[in-house]
Symmetry: C3
Subunit: 259 residues, 3 copies
Amino acid sequence: MNVLPPPCGVVTLLTDFGSRDCYVGTLEGAVLKAHVGARIVHLGHAIPAQDVSTAALHVDAAIDRFPTGTVHVVVVDPGVGTERRMLAVSAHGCYWIAPDNGVLSAVLDADRVDVRVLDPERLGIRPASRTFHGRDVFAPIAGRLARGQIGFGALGLRIDDPVRVSVPGRGAGPEGRVVLVDHFGNLITDLGPNAASSARGLVVADTEAPLVGTYGERGTGELVALVDSFDRLEVAVVGGSAAERLGVGVGTAVRVLHD
Amino acid sequence: MNVLPPPCGVVTLLTDFGSRDCYVGTLEGAVLKAHVGARIVHLGHAIPAQDVSTAALHVDAAIDRFPTGTVHVVVVDPGVGTERRMLAVSAHGCYWIAPDNGVLSAVLDADRVDVRVLDPERLGIRPASRTFHGRDVFAPIAGRLARGQIGFGALGLRIDDPVRVSVPGRGAGPEGRVVLVDHFGNLITDLGPNAASSARGLVVADTEAPLVGTYGERGTGELVALVDSFDRLEVAVVGGSAAERLGVGVGTAVRVLHD
Amino acid sequence: MNVLPPPCGVVTLLTDFGSRDCYVGTLEGAVLKAHVGARIVHLGHAIPAQDVSTAALHVDAAIDRFPTGTVHVVVVDPGVGTERRMLAVSAHGCYWIAPDNGVLSAVLDADRVDVRVLDPERLGIRPASRTFHGRDVFAPIAGRLARGQIGFGALGLRIDDPVRVSVPGRGAGPEGRVVLVDHFGNLITDLGPNAASSARGLVVADTEAPLVGTYGERGTGELVALVDSFDRLEVAVVGGSAAERLGVGVGTAVRVLHD
């Protein structure tokens, strides 16, 4: 069985709220009302609105990247206010709280995973709104869990049929696609490090990007392919934007080139 | 009288600084120099430049959303460096620090409120600049207050004539207007939950938005009206942007539709 | 010699990562894995990609603005993965960790400065990637230093030849240039307060901006020049954007006007 890690007081937030309004701030307030000593990390708030797949990719990138006992909260929630379930998951030494819509798919693949359906009523939580369960349900539960005020097992009944979506993986090639364009214009693909062994590069938009170990191996302006910090193959322009150079985006096909 | 809450160490920041420069970071530094253990929350930094009214709406949304004893700092300050007063307010179980220009109007309406004029000289604070009182006056005072190093009463003399502006309210209808367009393109109005009783919808730009309880009650792409997390009526497109669909923005008239 | 300040638990992050992806969040995670009690401040993440000079200006603005014992981390790192060195610096009562590419130039000018070359191997750190030393090297070292788990002297050997770049200074005039356009459209120059003595204004794009003490001295829409919170002369439009009004940007020449 899964051994439950002691909470460490860290709570991360991943949402599609953007950073324009006070939605993220009130989410923080709701965590702090439950645990005034919580240390909150913003994993990201620029997930495209209601884009469960991109959120799932970011959740994947957070695995093993935070202290044991971190409580991760994901609020990308197109079904808010409907009958969709709300989950708490224990896996990879951390806790994960999110709507049951697949955003936690990468976490659900863990060897040892314990999935519960949140039961707000049993926890004495009455959502003040039907539109903002992040603030009214997820955040207060995250705070209590981070504080050690409530145990994971008390959050709700165990289930074994959480919703799953296909998380952009770490394919071995030879075919893949662009799954994310980052701030720098780098093209992150669904190909993993295995695809790179014995490869000499990637082909995107009829253009060859030679495989290198790191950006600095080539001069500014050169197109390269490399294993990036998502642990996936990406196509980049040294000191520039591959998305702009090639005029491509999410969904574009990528091919591994062997000698 | 107002019973002064013990500080809890949380300090929130609401500004019009944007997130491009180091202005927010140096504000944090100034809080931490006064109280190295402060836990800082970013309530928002995307208030349109010097827009006191929008800031006042966000202040309204923060009431009762943070732990007792939180110190809220608002730096939307078109009059910085002039003779405009600087305020500290105790209300709603929290402390509020801001220029005396109306940004705290929603807070000033509390049943029990204690308003002081900051006296930096008496506190031994000499602003290093005449352009950044957020960093030089508000932040250090917030830090000392959050740390419990100084009592609220020592911040300055009590006054009863703070500047007030009209905060977009929670009108009962039948007429209202759009007061904020959020990150999702939702149109937040100045109509409150009372306007929704016995109503069947809202009319914006000659288009009817039927009243629902939550986004998920209708299909993607449908126009709806609902009570939102601002505790106000809003017009939204499920999974889309109402602002884009209707081509409207802040100021647009809204009408409540009854049977 | 430099007396080493005790760490205070605060870690600041300055990067060119933007706020779209989870790169900043995973950086935070890496700090917290090394020191779960760290208090992290975001000094800024909107430095133009790989723009060492603008980063150096922001580093300059952070000097003396944070508690003694703060650990500042700068990840603007075009040479990541190459043989470029990585530095830890003790100066101005704080610690500074960054690639050896000049971003710390303003700090290196301190009277008492101790510069070390990071030796990850000696510290038992094996970078998981060759593209993200921020996460794999800088952040864990910052966390250990902030926690007091490792002493500054143990980070690596002392050197006296760190890379330096020209940091936009505080010139005395009469000529200067715009070095930064901030969120408000203010034009920050490389002229310091000395240039303002006996001056009556600045000339930019053939337009005279009279010298004032603070924005509020003139009416909305008026062009002014003043010493700003960067401790430099800037040109601003009261309640508006000087960059838009004058149609100028970084690099534009500025001239001090005397009577």
